[in-house]
Symmetry: C2
Subunit: 552 residues, 2 copies
C-alpha cells in the first residue's frame, strides 16, 4: 500500500502544494495559489503609506493558500487521506510576523491593523539596512565570536534588524506582541498547536547555534538596552532540528484540509535550503548550487569550520546531524538578463526572432561555437556586489580584453564564465578552510535552460556538474521532510538522507569536464583570481571610490 | 589684385583639389576624384594574387586625379591662371613606389607590370609586420639613438619595412629600380622635374634627422647586408624642408593642368601633418588633435626632447623651423562605432530612428544629461592597442563599474571619457618631458559632430578646446604651403606661420572647461592613470596573456 506526503512551498508571490508518492517521489498532484495582496511596498490595505524599501505581506494570504491548495491536491490525486502520512512546509526567510499568545497575527487586531510593523516583513524588506550596519559595527567592536560564522556580515533581511526596527518604530506593538515568529514556524504552530522554531531559520537568520545558543544578553543590550532579553521575551520557542516532527495536525485543521487528524507535520524549513535534500544531496562533500537570478551554494560537513566570506554555518541547518554551510553570488542570471536588455544589438534580436528563439538561446548558440579563451575576454561578476567570498556590496562589474572585433556573444560567454569563476572561488575557499567539495549539483533555472553554461561550470570547476531537474524542488524537499517526520513505521523514513535517496529526481543531466577546456580555464581562473584580489581585497579600491564619487 | 593657390590632398580613396584666395583662405572651387583602382588587396589588375595584409594602389589613378581636378578647379573658380601663384600637395604616408630614372613607376613597364612589389604600397600595407618587429629588435640590440625619437617602435607602415620586403621578395626589381619614393614626392618630381624628399615624410617615416642624417650603414647592414647602402642607392634625393619651394611647374605639365609654367610647387607633405598649419597652429605650446576613427596629436617646439612613447620628433616635420612632435591614440571614433554596432539595444535604435537621429546622436543626447562621475564607470581606451604613450598593440579595452542598473548611454559616455583621459595622458607626458602644451586645437569628424565629446575633452584636459571646422583641412593646409612656396613677392607669404595666420578657418568653436567638472574628472583621471600603469606597464600583463591564450 503506497503512502504519500504533501510538501508546501511558500514563495514570494505564491504557494505551491505537491502530493507525492513516498516510495519514489512521484508527483500525483500539485496546486498553486497566488497571494491576493502580493508584496505591499506602497501602502497597507487601508491606505496607510509605507516607507522606502518596505516590503510587507498579509498573513491572511498564507491561510487562504493553505486551505485552498492542500484540499486541492488531496482531491485531485484521488489519494485517501489515511494514506497521507505527513505534511511539510518551507517558506521564504527571514519572513517575520508578530503574534499574540494564540498565534493570532497582530495585524488581524483592530488595534494594530493600521500599523505597518504589525504585518509580515517579507525577506526582501530592506528598510533595515542601517540597523544591520549598526549591528555589524557593534558585533565587530565586541569581537563577537558567532559573527565569523556569518562571514562577518549581518544581512538587513535577518530577524534582529527587523525586530529592532519594530521596537524603534512601534514600542507599543513590541510590548503587546507575545512572540515574533517566522511565517513558516507560525503555520506549523497553527497546524499542530506546537510553538517551535526550526533550526534552519533560527541558525541562518537569527544567530542560533546548537552548541552555544543565541548571542549573549550583553551583545543584545549593546544593540539596544531594551533588547537585552529579546530572545527570552520575544523569540523563546524551542528550536527543533529540521527533519524532526513538530507535531500532528489538529482535528480542526484536519477538517479544513481534508487530512486525517494526527498527520505528522515536520519542522518548517527555508525554501532554498530545503532544496538540498530535494535535489538529492545527502552527504558531506556534495554541494548544491541553485543557479538563478543569483546563486545560493549549500554544502554539509561533519565539522564546524570558520570559513570567511560565507553566508552562514548552522548545525542542523540543511540536513539534520550535519553542519550546513551556505554561500552565495549576489547576481548571476541577473547579469545575463542585464546584458540582453542593454547590450544586444537589433540585428541579433531580429535574427533570434526570425529563428523563433529567445535572445539568450540565440546568444548561447553563437557562444557555444567559441572555445575557452578564444574571445580574449575576462570579466568580474560583481554587478550586484560580491556576497561570497568578499562580502562587499560596493564592488561592481568589470570586463577586460575588448578589441574592435569583439562580438556580443563573446561578451555574453565571458559573463557566464565570470559567474563560473565566482563559483570556483567559493568552492576553493571552502576547501581551503577544511570543508570538502567533491560533487557538484546544480538546480534552478539556468541549470535547466543553458547547457553551455553548465558545461562551462563543469570545465571551470573541473568537476562533474549534476544538473537536477527539480521544477518542484522546494516542495519536493518539504515532502521528504514530511516523510521523515512521519517516520519509517508509518511508511516514511528514519532520516532525511533516506527520504532523499528514495524520492529525489532521477533525471539529472551530468556535465563532465573536458580536460583540455579545464586546462585553459585553469589559466583564465588564475587571471580572474588575481583581479579578484586586486579589485576586491583593497589593493585598488577604485570601484568603491567610483561609487563614492557617483553618490556625491 | 587677389592671388590664389591650389592645395591637393591625396587621401586613401580619392584626391581633392581646393583653390583658395591667398589673402584669407576663402574657397573658390574644389573638385574630387575617386581612384578607379581604389585599394588593391586581393589581386593586381591582371589577376596576379596578393598575399595577406597587402594593400596596393595604382599610380595611374594619381595622375588621372591630377589631370582632372586641377583643371576643374581652375575652370570652376573662373580665376586667371596667371593669378594662381602656387600648388601644394599632401599625401597619405608612408605610401611608396619604385621608379626608374625618368620617374616612371616600374609597374608601368612590361617587365614588372605583374610584380606586386612594383606597385604603390599604400600606408596601410601591413604584410611587413614581421620586418618591423625585426628592425625594432636590431635597433634595440644596437642601442640605436634615433630609435628613441620614434618611441622605440618602428611601424610596419614605414619605408624600411616596405623596401626590405621588396628586396626580399623581388631582388631583380630592387636592382632595377632607380629610386624608392613617397607618392607625394613623386608627383612633385613629375610636376617640377626636381627629385626631392620632403622633411616630413623623410623624418616621420624614414628615420631622417636634420642634424644627424639617416641611421648608419652599420645599422642598415645589420638589418640585411644588401641594405648597407640603401639610402645612397635607393633613397638618395635631397631632403628639403616642408614650406620650401621644390620647384616650378614645367611647361608640359602646365599645359595639361591649365596653369602657367613656372607656378611654384611646394615640397610635398603628409596629409595629417599638413593639417597643423591648416588648422591655424603656428607656435610652440599649441597642440592639434585630429580626432577621428583614431587620433593624431601634433605639436611644435623649439627644443628637441626625447619623449617616450610618441610616434616621432622631426625637425621641420610640421612647421619649418620647429621640432615637430607626433603622438597618437590607435582607436577613438572606432571604439564608439564598435559600441554602436555591437552593444546598443533594439529599443535605442528604434527610438533614434523615430526621432530621425543617428544612433550616436541619440546616445549623445542621453549621455549629455549625465554629470561627470554619475555613471560610476571607468574605461581604458585600448580596443586597438595603445599607440602613445605605451606603444603596445597587445593591450586591449577595459570597462569597470557596471551594475545591474548601468545603461548603454552611460557606457557610451565612459568610452568617450576614456579617450579623453588617453589624450590627457599624452599631454601630461609631453609636459613631463619638457614639451609645453597650453592650447588645444581639435579637428576631424568628432570635433565637429559631437559637442559633448569636445566639452568632455575640455573638462578632462582642463584647457579650452578649440574645435576647428576644417572640412578641407589638409587641402587648405597644402594651399598655405603653396602660398609660402610662392613667397611674399609673388603675393604669397614668407613663412608658413604667416600663411596660416591669414588663411586658417576663423570659425572655431571654443569649449571652455567647467571648473566643477574638471575637479571631478581630475579624480577620475587619477583612477585611469593607476589602471593605465597597472595593466599597461607590466604590473599585471593579463591583457597580453589573454591574447596569447587566444591565439594558441
Amino acid at each position: 500500500m503506497s503512502k504519500y506526503t504533501i510538501g508546501i512551498d511558500y514563495g514570494t508571490l505564491s504557494a505551491r502544494a505537491l502530493l507525492v508518492d513516498v516510495s519514489d517521489g512521484h508527483e500525483l498532484a500539485s496546486s498553486v495559489f497566488e497571494y491576493p495582496h502580493a508584496v505591499m511596498t506602497e501602502n497597507l490595505p487601508d491606505g496607510t503609506p509605507l516607507g522606502p524599501d518596505w516590503a510587507l505581506q498579509h498573513p491572511q494570504d498564507y491561510l487562504d493558500a493553505l486551505f485552498t491548495i492542500v484540499p486541492a491536491v488531496v482531491k485531485n490525486s484521488g489519494v485517501q487521506p489515511a494514506d497521507i502520512i505527513g505534511l511539510g512546509i518551507d517558506f521564504t526567510s527571514c519572513t517575520m510576523l508578530p503574534v499574540d499568545r494564540s498565534a493570532r497575527p497582530l495585524c488581524f487586531t483592530e488595534e494594530f491593523k493600521n500599523h505597518p510593523n504589525a504585518y509580515v516583513k517579507l525577506w526582501k524588506h530592506h528598510s533595515t539596512q542601517q540597523k544591520a550596519d549598526e549591528i555589524d559595527r557593534i558585533a565587530k567592536e565586541r569581537k563577537e565570536k558567532w559573527h565569523a560564522n556569518y562571514g562577518g556580515k549581518v544581512s538587513s533581511e535577518w530577524t534582529l534588524p527587523k525586530i529592532w526596527e519594530l521596537l524603534d518604530e512601534d514600542p507599543a506593538l513590541y510590548d503587546t506582541m507575545y512572540e515574533y515568529v517566522e511565517a513558516g514556524d507560525w503555520l506549523v504552530w497553527l497546524l499542530t498547536g506546537e510553538d517551535t522554531r526550526n533550526s534552519c531559520s533560527a541558525g541562518y537568520k537569527n544567530f542560533y547555534n546548537k552548541q552555544t545558543g543565541y548571542p549573549s544578553h550583553e551583545f543584545f543590550a549593546a544593540i539596544d538596552p531594551r533588547l537585552e532579553n529579546v530572545i527570552e521575551e520575544k523569540c523563546f520557542a524551542p528550536v527543533i532540528p529540521i527533519g524532526s516532527r513538530a507535531g500532528m495536525v489538529k482535528p480542526d485543521m484536519a477538517e479544513k484540509l481534508d487530512l486525517m487528524p494526527g498527520t505528522a507535520v515536520s519542522a518548517a524549513n527555508i525554501d532554498a535550503h530545503v532544496c538540498v535534500a530535494g535535489a538529492g544531496v545527502t552527504r558531506p562533500g556534495q554541494m548544491l548550487a541553485i543557479v538563478g537570478t543569483s546563486t545560493c551554494h549549500m554544502t554539509v560537513s561533519t565539522v564546524e569550520k570558520q570559513v570567511p566570506g560565507i553566508c552562514g554555518v548552522v548545525e542542523d541547518g540543511l540536513l539534520p546531524g550535519f553542519l550546513g554551510y551556505e554561500a552565495g553570488q549576489s547576481s548571476v542570471g541577473d547579469i545575463f538578463a542585464w546584458f540582453c536588455r542593454n547590450c544586444v544589438p537589433k540585428a541579433y534580436e531580429e535574427a533570434a526572432k526570425e529563428r523563433g528563439m529567445g535572445i539568450q538561446q540565440y546568444l548561447t548558440e553563437l557562444a557555444s561555437a567559441l572555445k575557452p579563451g578564444e574571445s580574449g575576454l575576462l570579466a568580474l561578476d560583481w554587478f550586484n556586489g560580491n556576497r561570497s567570498i568578499l562580502v562587499d556590496f560596493d564592488l561592481t562589474g568589470m570586463l577586460l580584453g575588448m578589441t574592435l572585433q569583439t562580438k556580443p556573444e563573446e561578451i555574453y560567454r565571458a559573463l557566464i564564465e565570470a559567474t563560473a569563476y565566482g563559483t570556483r572561488m567559493i568552492v576553493d575557499n571552502f576547501r581551503k578552510y577544511g570543508v570538502a567539495v567533491d560533487e557538484f549539483f546544480a538546480t534552478g533555472g539556468i541549470s535547466q535552460k543553458n547547457a553551455m553554461a553548465m558545461q562551462i561550470y563543469a570545465d571551470v570547476l573541473n568537476m562533474p556538474v549534476r544538473a537536477v531537474d527539480a521544477k518542484q524542488g522546494a516542495a519536493l524537499g518539504s515532502a521528504m521532510f514530511a516523510a521523515t517526520a512521519a517516520g519509517k513505521e508509518a511508511g516514511g523514513y528514519d532520516t532525511v538522507q533516506d527520504a532523499s535517496a528514495a524520492m529525489a529526481p532521477k533525471n539529472a543531466h551530468v556535465y563532465q569536464p573536458v580536460a583540455e577546456n579545464a586546462r585553459i580555464y585553469d589559466e583564465l581562473y588564475q587571471e580572474y583570481a588575481t583581479l579578484h584580489d586586486y579589485f576586491g581585497r583593497g589593493i585598488n579600491d577604485v570601484m568603491k571610490r567610483l561609487k563614492k564619487i557617483r553618490f556625491e
